[in-house]
């Protein structure tokens, strides 16, 4: 097997055309998924069974079934109902783009909800009691004490979830979307050279996820002043503190 470098470069530049769609699908699903996830997490920690139970059921279904199956059900399954095809939702669901974005968002919401719940529960009860003792309650307590610490706690888990989402967008190629993997499949079908094309596709996902990893590392650093050494030693070994 000899790697053909001009072809490798040509594949790489062609695959770059799919990057905007990959990023769009990731961004759209992560943002809408996060909104839904916060709602689900609050329902889970509400201590009211009629809020907790539906959230639990949702998370069970969307974590327990493969994303590919969810995409197929939303794209091919829903379109089999004439009632839906004549509804106001059809202009959206007719398009593969919205079907894929919807499936990705619903899926990530289930996982993220549990990550957020974990973050919320990690805030020590003593701190909440202390905050209540000083007169904080409700939204003020959430904003000043719980959310900042929960956010810091959930970052490692949530960065995992974003990385998984970047990679999951590859499944959108199964419903005709021409993102990086969709273009890769087409290139292979024209050239029959899977190695070069998949190496390039892999490198592109790696590059995107490198940026995601660094962004979360920077955010973690910014949100953890207590873990950084005192200012005097920071001058000596700033890199070590970051690691």
């Amino acid at each position: 097997m000899v790697i053909d470098f001009p072809f490798l470069w040509e594949s790489f530049t062609t695959l770059l055309n799919g990057v905007p769609l990959t990023l769009q699908l990731t961004a759209l699903s992560v943002v809408t998924g996060a909104v839904l996830a916060v709602l689900l997490a609050l329902m889970r920690v509400s201590n009211r069974w009629w809020l907790d139970l539906p959230a639990q059921a949702y998370i069970f279904v969307f974590r327990g079934t493969p994303l590919l199956v969810q995409i197929y059900i939303i794209y091919y399954g829903l379109s089999q109902f004439p009632e839906l095809r004549h509804s106001i939702l059809w202009p959206f669901l007719r398009q593969a783009y919205w079907c894929a974005a919807l499936a990705l968002a619903l899926n990530t919401a289930a996982y993220s909800a549990e990550i957020i719940r974990g973050g919320l529960l990690s805030v020590p009860a003593g701190q909440i009691e202390a905050a209540r003792a000083t007169g904080m309650s409700g939204f003020l307590l959430m904003r000043r004490i719980i959310f900042p610490q929960a956010l810091r706690q959930m970052l490692p888990g949530y960065s995992n979830e974003i990385i998984l989402m970047v990679k999951s967008t590859a499944l959108a190629s199964t419903v005709t979307l021409m993102e990086v993997t969709g273009i890769a499949a087409k290139l292979i079908s024209q050239s029959y050279r899977p190695i070069e094309v998949f190496i390039c596709a892999g490198a592109i996902y790696l590059a995107i996820n490198f940026i995601v990893v660094r962004a979360f590392a920077a955010l973690e650093y910014a949100l953890s002043p207590e873990r950084r050494p005192a200012p005097a030693s920071t001058a000596d070994q700033p890199e070590k503190a970051r690691a």
């Binding site: 091919y76 095809r85 292979i188 024209q190």
Partner: protein
């Protein structure tokens, strides 16, 4: 303990090597989603024209055959990676494919047509019911393609990716047609009936089979059937260095064509004769 298991593994390998020398087994890959050429039956077993034909050819070649299902978009790379020895999956002989794999003598001709929704704007495209060869009737075929191209402007057309149907669409209808590629013909048929697509282009025998099913009652063939040209002939795909197997397949296909076996199987599965000299 470790040494012992290595020794046992080595013994197993030698035994397997001897067994294959006595009775050759070849593995044939098919897609399993291209009815009636090859498809997966209700109980999970592979069926279709090519499954029957493979059994006939293997019998004549005096080899044991195992037929496996493989996704269409990886079917050629996996052949070259030696995951199996031959492909029988309705695959047309094309110059691009000939660069990477070898082909046996053809066992069928490739006929392609458009399917559309019966109540849609494309229901009566010119040339419906006629057949044009892209080789011997090039001028007439091109005239029909031009008429159809005008009708397809701004329409969404589905094809199975990396097929002769997709390259035919790309070379003749590049301008003004929104071309969508699917993994299987079954998927683009679903999107035709749901209204996401205005038309699909696929093998005419495959479409005829699908259109016979109740869920595709709203769709029909529109426009002429095209043969020859990029659609060419369908043959067994083989590795380039496997010349011995090619010779065996060529001989078996020649015999099966001459004595009418291929024609009989074709009539059984397609109701038309697709045999290459028929």
């Amino acid at each position: 303990m470790y040494l012992k298991s290595v020794f046992a593994a080595a013994l197993l390998f030698t035994a397997a090597g001897q067994a294959s020398a006595q009775e050759k087994t070849i593995t044939i890959a098919t897609e399993g989603a291209y009815a009636p050429w090859n498809f997966t039956g209700p109980s999970g077993e592979l069926q279709g024209f090519e499954i029957d034909l493979a059994k006939v050819l293997c019998e004549r070649m005096k080899v044991k055959c195992e037929i496996v299902a493989q996704n269409w978009d990886g079917i050629i790379p996996s052949l070259n990676a030696k995951k199996y020895d031959a492909i029988m999956a309705g695959m047309s002989v094309t110059p691009a494919r000939k660069e990477v794999i070898a082909f046996s003598d053809p066992y069928a001709a490739g006929l392609n047509a458009f399917a559309v929704l019966s109540d849609g704007p494309l229901a009566d495209m010119p040339g419906t019911g006629e057949t044009y060869s892209l080789d011997s009737q090039e001028a007439e075929a091109n005239a029909k393609i031009e008429e159809i191209a005008a009708l397809l402007k701004g329409k969404i057309v589905g094809v199975q990716g990396s097929t002769t149907a997709s390259s035919f669409m790309e070379s003749n209808f590049k301008d003004g047609v929104d071309l969508r590629e699917y993994k299987t013909t079954e998927e683009h048929n679903l999107d035709l009936t749901s209204g996401r697509l205005d038309a699909v282009l696929a093998n005419a025998t495959v479409l005829a089979e699908a259109l016979g099913k109740p869920d595709m009652a709203d769709a029909k063939i529109s426009g002429p059937i095209f043969s020859g040209g990029v659609f060419g002939f369908i043959a067994v795909g083989l590795r380039k260095d496997d010349t011995e197997l090619k010779a065996q397949f060529d001989e078996a296909i020649k015999a099966a064509t001459a004595d009418g076996t291929i024609k009989d199987l074709s009539m059984k599965w397609f109701k038309v004769d697709v045999s290459p000299r028929g």
